[in-house]
């Protein structure tokens, strides 16, 4: 009967399609641009690795995954971006992730939670992000901002509505702010760096918030007098002259964001990028291999993602820590 055949055929067809797509993929071209090296040992590994955490570090981990799956295609790697805090919650409380991406060091209460649940981990510094402040090109008088000026601009009590409130030398153009939402790690980091030392808990609440950095970029580009901040990658990818980067004066002169200034520490708004690896998971060969691969190759991959490589010292420190954790 027609209707029965149709009904019974539809589902197996879909299933078959699923399997067909799955099976016809073994020979994807190696994504590596020649810099990736196979991890320790040449045997084929299999297994599953679950990673979650910061949406800033996510793209970096995904780039590593891309290279890794070219040499170890049988290892399943799943990557989520629940946020640094959400990642730690999965990592420490439910324990269902092997690796947690983080755009800040683990906090005390999160570490305590891990300890409570018997989860030991190794912290690995994998790179740096230079948080970039930008203004609309028409706002060309804003080339550098000091911490005090930023507090006037961004803090709750200052909450400047025109630029001359920030700095009397500036004209009295209206201020428009586009920045990450109050619930993001980027926002947290900026506040901790700029506001917390002056004991200010949270900034003004009346700005244009968005989780999507592209939207922030668009907003600033279209609004004269606009100011905002986001990750270095978004500034780099913006068109020439669409946005102007603002230098930051942490007390020792104005420094703009760049690879050099981030690595030598002269730029004050650098944010460390970490992965936290569960020690117990390292006893599985695929996880150990993956983590080793990560540390060895992150330097080669990171620039294409838009972040800044960790220094050689930081990488070798990480290597040692990892080796110890695997061995021990």
């Amino acid at each position: 009967m027609n209707r029965r055949t149709l009904k019974s055929a539809a589902l197996p067809m879909a299933l078959a399609l699923c399997l067909a797509l799955a099976s016809c993929g073994g020979d994807e071209d190696p994504a590596s641009n020649g810099n990736g090296e196979p991890g320790a040992g040449e045997e084929t590994l299999s297994g599953a690795i679950e990673i979650d955490g910061s949406s800033t570090v996510g793209p970096l981990t995904d780039a590593i995954n891309e290279e890794y799956s070219a040499i170890q295609p049988d290892v399943t790697v799943t990557l989520g971006i629940s946020g640094t805090g959400g990642g730690f919650e999965r990592f420490c409380e439910t324990g269902d992730t092997d690796i947690s991406n983080a755009s800040r060091p683990i906090e005390d209460d999160e570490a305590a939670l891990c300890e409570e649940n018997g989860i030991e981990y190794t912290e690995i510094r994998v790179g740096t992000d230079a948080l970039t402040m930008v203004v609309n090109p028409a706002t060309d008088y804003v080339t550098c901002l000091t911490t005090e000026e930023l507090i006037t601009l961004w803090g709750p009590d200052g909450a400047a509505s025109t630029w001359d409130e920030v700095n009397p030398d500036f004209p009295s153009d209206p201020v428009e702010i586009f920045a990450p939402g109050t619930d993001s790690g980027t926002y947290d980091f900026f506040n901790e760096t700029i506001l917390e030392p002056s004991e200010i808990e949270s900034p003004r609440q009346d700005y244009n918030a968005s989780e999507d950095d592209n939207v922030i970029s668009q907003g600033i580009q279209g609004t004269p007098g606009a100011w905002g901040f986001f990750g270095f990658a978004y500034f780099q990818e913006s068109a020439e002259g669409a946005l102007t980067a603002v230098e930051y004066d942490a007390g020792e002169g104005c420094v703009g964001p760049s690879v050099e200034s981030a690595q030598d520490g002269s730029y004050g708004l650098t944010r460390p990028l970490f992965i936290y690896v569960k020690n117990e998971a390292l006893s599985r060969p695929e996880v150990a291999d993956y983590a080793t691969f990560y540390v060895e190759n992150v330097g080669a991959v990171i620039e294409s993602v838009g972040y800044i490589a960790a220094t050689e010292d930081e990488i070798s420190e990480a290597s040692t820590a990892l080796e110890e954790a695997i061995g021990g």
Partner: protein
Amino acid sequence: MSSTSTTDVVGSAPSGDPVGRSLTTPRPRYGERVVLGLLWLCAGVSVVTTIGIILVVFVEAFALFGIPGVSVVEFFTDTAWRPFTGPESEQFRLGVLPLLNSTLLITAIALGIAVPLGLATAIYLSEFARPRVRRTVKPFLELLAGVPTVVLGYFALTFMTPVLRSVFGADVVPIFNAASAGIVVGILIVPTIASISEDAMSAVPRALREGAYGLGAARQQVALKIVFPAALSGIVAAIILGFGRAVGETLIVSLAAGNLPPPDVPTADPFQQVQTMTAYIVQAVGGESSRGSVTYQSIFAVGALLFVLTFLVNRIALRIVRRFREEY
């Protein structure tokens, strides 16, 4: 022999009920009991889902009010929404009215676009267009209803907003505004309203039309004065469905309308940034809030309010539909 009596067969059931309802035999065969039981179970699952949603959302919502510093009265009457800083902070305000206002504003704009366009399309397709045109356009409309909303969100931001800014002036229309999002949401629901209204109008029996034409009526008279009122219940149902869809729309508004609740509530200004209830949920879920915190629970409180809103509207709609339903 089954033991149904003739009176059961012919017995009057309210219109719309299949006759089967009054024919449930008192003693079905044993195997049949099992099957009936299974069917009952299936219906039971839907009960469980209903109860599940209501339970979950409301339980988590009420948990919000258990947190010290949060008051129910304030939630419903306060006119500012600043949930991220925590009740200890001075800036913390938890009044849901700005979100509700935003949702209703966007929905009003959307319906203002969608109802005229949708009904025009429906009347045209049902009463004026040739059958072949109707056969081609209807599936096209149904397909367009499947456009992913993330696409429409970007359309709103990159196309609609610049258009509005050039028409009304860039100083009147900010980058994030309710009008762009509202118009695009309206475009989103045009296929829904058009399709279902057209179905309702097609369901009006030919006899009514033939009678009118026989009396010498012109096509637009038949369309507007005979068919439209006859199909009114279906049309109202279509508009309500459209309303529900507009209220629940998430991605378009979170990309194009902004993430800042309007400062002066109540407001009907379409050229300002707003944050709807759905946009808030997405913003908060994607962020770093941990379970048990004010932010996390507030997500459910807003979700519960959303549920109640659509529930009430559906009830009202049902009542209207029943009153206007014509029986043939």
